[in-house]
Symmetry: C2
């Protein structure tokens, strides 16, 4: 992990889930692992779901959404052999998010995320993302992102 996280290279700034500039956000950090993206994250007690022992489903959705779109952004820059955040800026917005909650996610374990590009077609990127804790996959996400550009 010698290279800074995608977010610390400026992929996203303000987002509640992963913006490095959002002091009250979740501040997820995503990194390359070959052609896939990985991240680790630790919850705070108030990120619980219906019980204090398990991670909230909405937080799980946030982590999967942000990690997946950050991979789409980084992948697009890589395809164009440009540094993340170089102009014209590439972003992705979520069109569809589908999460399968397979098992309760223990709040006190380190959360691991792994995302891979499933398909690219025009401006659309389909990303698969697994969220695991304690070596067990607890949730699986499929995210459809749509590319946007600006200067």
């Amino acid at each position: 992990m010698a290279e800074p996280a995608f977010q610390d290279q400026g992929s996203v700034h303000h987002c509640h889930g992963c913006g490095a500039a959002n002091e009250k956000g979740l501040r997820l950090k995503s990194y390359w692992d070959g052609g896939e993206a990985i991240a680790t994250w630790r919850a705070q007690p108030h990120h619980c779901g219906g019980t204090k022992e398990n991670l909230n489903g909405g937080i799980i959705a946030s982590l999967i959404d942000c990690h997946s779109l950050n991979l789409a952004i980084a992948h697009s820059y890589r395809l164009e052999a440009r540094p993340i955040a170089s102009a014209p800026r590439i972003g992705y917005v979520t069109a569809n998010l589908h999460i399968s909650y397979l098992k309760p996610t223990p709040l006190k374990e380190t959360i691991h995320l792994r995302a891979r590009i499933a398909k690219l077609e025009g401006r659309k990127a389909w990303v698969d993302c697994a969220l695991s804790a304690g070596g067990v996959i607890c949730a699986q996400g499929e995210v459809l992102g749509v590319r946007v550009e600006w200067d």
Copy 2:
């Protein structure tokens, strides 16, 4: 809205999205409107997405998830003609969450949620939920919840 919110009747206590006892959570409040459930919610600036003007997609997922499962809980108690939070306690856990993001959701507008039971089958409840702002539906969710009980 003479009746307290489902959450204030004890439907859920600790949840980051809607637990009344979670001081750092989103504290969504859901109410009956006939056979459907409604809620309104206001974001804070740090709940933004990729831009400061729009609501984060993960927060949207949280609101839809919590509102939908609270309807499933309240509906189950109503079918049994029992007050919410009476023993044996009824809860719902999310098995599947599918969100379609139709338009950007403006951060400064009041968020409105409306959920209805689409189907009930054994322990499973399928709930449809629309999230709107400024009179426009910005996201649509489909949530599959599975009933759990405890004393």
